[in-house]
């Protein structure tokens, strides 16, 4: 992993930020960073492999603020290849994609934390064969 | 003045109680009772009081005249 080229500050496009602001303003999250992490988690859960953010990017948080114990990076490392794209660069892309997906659901079904979590749950545990 | 009744229990009770006061003649007691019976439902007691006062004054006057 090329940690040395990873981000120390992460952010989103302007649209992405606007989406997160709206989520917070609607009372779904207490803090903007909570919305950010949720968006990352949502995109990871869905298994998307998002591209780089195309539009102008704006930083929002220091890494230490958003991922103080490195759990987010651990999750990303396990689920996405981090050889060429380090975890926090992935995090930005995931946050962008995730916030869009959440916004789409919000428009059609409305935002409900419980429902979002239920969607991500596996019906049963898969047994993994030893490699 | 009063309607005849088969048995006037109030008068009977009065006569019974009057045995303890032999100095009172039965006519006096009967007359006092008659006044009260005739006016027993009157709201104002003015008439029976006046009649009783007169009854006893006349009785006293008669007693004095006899002496």
């Amino acid at each position: 992993m090329t940690e040395t080229s990873d981000l120390t500050q992460i952010g989103l496009s302007l649209d992405g930020q606007a989406r997160l602001d709206r989520f917070k303003g609607s009372g779904y999250f207490g803090e903007l960073r909570d919305a950010y992490k949720f968006a990352v988690g949502f995109a990871l859960a869905k298994g998307v492999v998002p591209p780089e953010i195309q539009t102008k990017r704006q930083t929002m948080f220091a890494i230490a603020t958003v991922d103080p114990d490195g759990s987010l990076a651990t999750a990303i490392r396990e689920l996405l290849p981090c050889d060429e794209v380090p975890p926090y660069r992935w995090a930005e892309r995931l946050a962008e994609a995730g916030s869009q997906m959440i916004a789409d659901i919000e428009v059609t079904k409305g935002f409900d934390l419980g429902s979002m979590l239920a969607e991500a749950e596996l019906p049963s545990r898969d047994k993994v064969a030893e490699r | 003045m009063t309607e005849a009744v088969p048995q006037d229990m109030a008068l009977a009770a009065l006569i019974e109680a009057a045995r303890a006061a032999p100095q009172l003649p039965s006519e006096l007691i009967n007359s006092a009772y008659a006044i009260e019976k005739a006016h027993q439902f009157d709201e104002s007691r003015e008439t029976p009081l006046r009649l009783l006062q007169k009854l006893v004054e006349e009785f006293v006057a008669q007693s004095e005249a006899r002496q």
Binding site: D34, L79 | T2, E3, A17, K37, F41, L49, Q53
Partner: protein
């Protein structure tokens, strides 16, 4: 007393003139008036009542306001006059009593009782009686206080249960009414009147004594105590009048509060619901805030399923690495051991000397082991790395908020359902209370508390004055005796009159208890006779009377029968009425309005056989269901002196038709 004729004009449902003739033959002394419910039977009873007492009773014995009494159809035609006339005979004298209500000239459409004027006229053997004397005349034969015993509304039967409740207000009223019916007032009034006259005479005596030498001090003391007594009596009169007013206010408040109980209860409920709604909203806000706090770690639950798979994979790899390490260690040991003992003539296993050691075979074995070791080296994994990744994953997975979010959602859902329910109930209550004034109810309750306290206080003050009055009386009696003793043979006229009034007062006072005791015994006997004739339960011994003239049934062993059916209650009440009417008063008419609602056929038969004998005239208002041809008429057939039927003309009008 004997009723002759009732004539009604525009009275309640009877438009125009309506006449009811009462039977005059003592052998055929029963009058039947048949009619369906709500057609006008009770109105006929009210016609008699209104003629005598200017009062009419509606349901639950409530007074009917005057302006609601004139027939509506007559009123619609502009005829606002109403009249009730009763002709009767009493004490050998013919009476004609007429009472008339007329709209006041200044009123166009009466809508309150005050909009009418009422006039009463009475003739006695054709000669007019002065208006001021009419009430006294009526009191001689049919005083209102005892009217309940001959103008008998079926609803009144419920009142008699009150007699069994010692100390109840209603029971005391009925007891007073019974005693008035039996002549006790003559003695009570006599006692009180004579006491008043006695006091007056004593005062005169006191004045005269002040002129007698040696009695000045006694006279002065007498005068002081007399003045005190007057003051206490005046206080008691004032306090009792105040008590009456306070009691009246209390009853009125109790009635109003009872009527508005539901308003009060709704107001209390509304306040509670509003409070609950506030709590619910606070709860919702709190739960939502809690959910927001859980959202901080919610991302972990999103990735949990995929990370669990990864963790399981790492776990399996760690298990594999461990197994490999174990195999490698075993191989290594075997290799080292062989290398060490290659060519030895000693068995490497048991340490015994071995002949003809096969060095070539041992070398082959060693080569095989080395080959295996080399093969395993290819499978070697970086178990440190895997273990580190596994630990990192466990740390991510250690926190889960999903179940707490689920619980919070469940709580929120319940709160929302409850809030909808509570809001709906609040709307209902607000609508119900829209035109009410719940604050007025609260003020009434507060006022009731104050009035109840005043009543208690008033009672204490009265008792205090009565004690002081009794003390003053004792002092005065003692001083009077001293004056009398001193006067000896030379008593003044005032002293003589005082003695006589005192003696008369004592006789009347003593007679009251005597009378009460005798009366109760007679009423009990008469009521028992009537009861045994009317009851269907032949094992009963009779009735027993209490101090309030309440009657209990005695069973076969003389024990009290505790619970009575409604029917038995009616029979007991009828027995009491009959017992009273035969105890002291001259026999008179008994008018009964639908008394048979709760009675079975057998009881009805017994009653109808008996009652016509107990009253001079027996007038019975019934509906077909109570007294149809099959339900008891035959017991009365030979006593019937008249029969009427009430017919419906319209919803506002009925007509009385004579059938025989």
């Amino acid at each position: 007393m004997k009723l002759i004729r009732l004539t009604l004009t525009n009275f309640m449902p009877y438009k125009g003139e309506t006449i009811l003739d009462f039977p005059q033959d003592p052998d055929r002394n029963t009058l039947i008036v048949l009619g369906d419910n709500m057609r006008g039977k009770t109105s006929l009873l009210n016609g008699i009542r209104w003629a005598f007492y200017q009062k009419a009773q509606g349901r639950h014995l409530r007074a009917i306001p005057l302006h609601l009494m004139p027939n509506r159809d007559a009123v619609a035609e502009g005829d606002w006059t109403m009249e009730a006339r009763i002709e009767f005979e009493a004490g050998g004298v013919y009476y004609d009593l007429r009472r008339e209500a007329k709209k006041r000239a200044t009123v166009s459409r009466p809508d309150r009782p005050e909009d009418y004027q009422v006039f009463a006229f009475m003739k006695k053997d054709g000669a007019a009686v002065a208006a001021s004397d009419i009430e006294a005349e009526i009191n001689r034969f049919a005083p209102e206080q005892v009217s309940r015993f001959f103008l008998f509304d079926g609803e009144l039967l419920q009142e008699y249960e009150e007699l069994l409740v010692e100390g109840s207000e209603q029971g005391k009223k009925i007891k007073d009414a019974i005693e008035q019916a039996l002549g006790v007032p003559a003695l009570i009034n006599g006692r009180d009147d004579l006491q008043a006259l006695w006091k007056r005479a004593q005062k005169e005596q006191g004045k005269e004594a002040s002129l007698v030498a040696g009695l000045e001090a006694v006279a002065e003391s007498f005068s002081k105590w007399s003045a005190r007594r007057d003051m206490f009596e005046a206080d008691i009169v004032t306090l009792k009048a105040q008590q009456v007013a306070v009691r009246e206010e209390r009853r009125s408040l109790e009635d109003s509060i009872a009527e508005s109980e539901s308003v009060y209860a709704h107001k209390i409920e509304l306040d509670a619901k509003r409070e609950r709604l506030k709590q619910i909203f606070t709860g919702i806000e709190s739960k939502e805030s809690f959910k927001r706090s859980l959202a901080a770690d919610a991302w972990r639950d999103l990735v949990r399923p995929r990370l669990l798979k990864k963790r399981d994979q790492l776990q399996a790899r760690l298990a594999g690495a461990s197994k490999l390490a174990s195999q490698q260690a075993k191989l290594q040991y075997q290799i080292e051991h062989l290398q060490e003992h290659l060519g030895d003539s000693v068995c490497p296993t048991c340490g015994q000397r071995v002949e003809n050691v096969d060095r070539a075979a041992q070398q082959r074995q060693l080569d095989d082991l080395l080959g295996e070791r080399a093969a395993l080296a290819w499978c070697d994994v970086n178990s440190e790395d895997i273990a580190a990744r596994h630990r990192a994953l466990e740390k991510v997975l250690s926190t889960s908020v999903r179940s707490r979010v689920r619980d919070a959602d469940s709580d929120l859902s319940n709160l929302e359902v409850e809030s909808a329910r509570v809001e709906s109930r609040i709307d209902e209550l607000e609508e119900e209370l829209f035109e009410q004034n719940p604050d007025a109810v609260i003020r009434m309750r507060q006022r009731l508390q104050a009035v109840t306290r005043d009543e208690a206080k008033g009672q204490i003050e009265i008792e205090d004055r009565e004690k002081k009055l009794a003390e003053a009386d004792r002092e005065i009696q003692s001083l009077t005796q001293r004056m009398n003793a001193r006067a000896g043979q030379n008593s003044t006229r005032a002293a003589v009159m005082s003695k006589i009034f005192g003696a008369l007062h004592g006789v009347f006072d003593a007679s009251i208890d005597n009378l009460r005791t005798n009366l109760r015994a007679i009423v009990e006997k008469n009521a028992t006779d009537a009861f045994l004739r009317m009851s269907t339960q032949k094992s009963y011994r009779g009735l027993s009377i209490n101090a309030n003239y309440g009657l209990t049934i005695l069973g076969p062993d003389g024990e009290c029968v505790p619970l009575r059916s409604a029917g038995a209650e009616q029979v007991v009440a009828l027995s009491l009425i009959d017992g009273l009417s035969r105890a002291n008063r001259a026999p008179g008419p008994v008018v009964m309005d639908t008394p048979f609602g709760r009675l079975d056929t057998k009881h009805r038969h017994n009653i109808l056989s008996y009652l016509p004998d107990s009253a001079r005239q027996f007038i019975l208002f019934v509906h077909d269901g109570e007294l149809g041809e099959s339900a008891g008429m035959e017991s009365l057939a030979h006593r019937i002196g008249g029969k009427y039927e009430i017919q419906e003309v319209s919803s506002n009008q009925s007509r009385l038709r004579r059938m025989s």
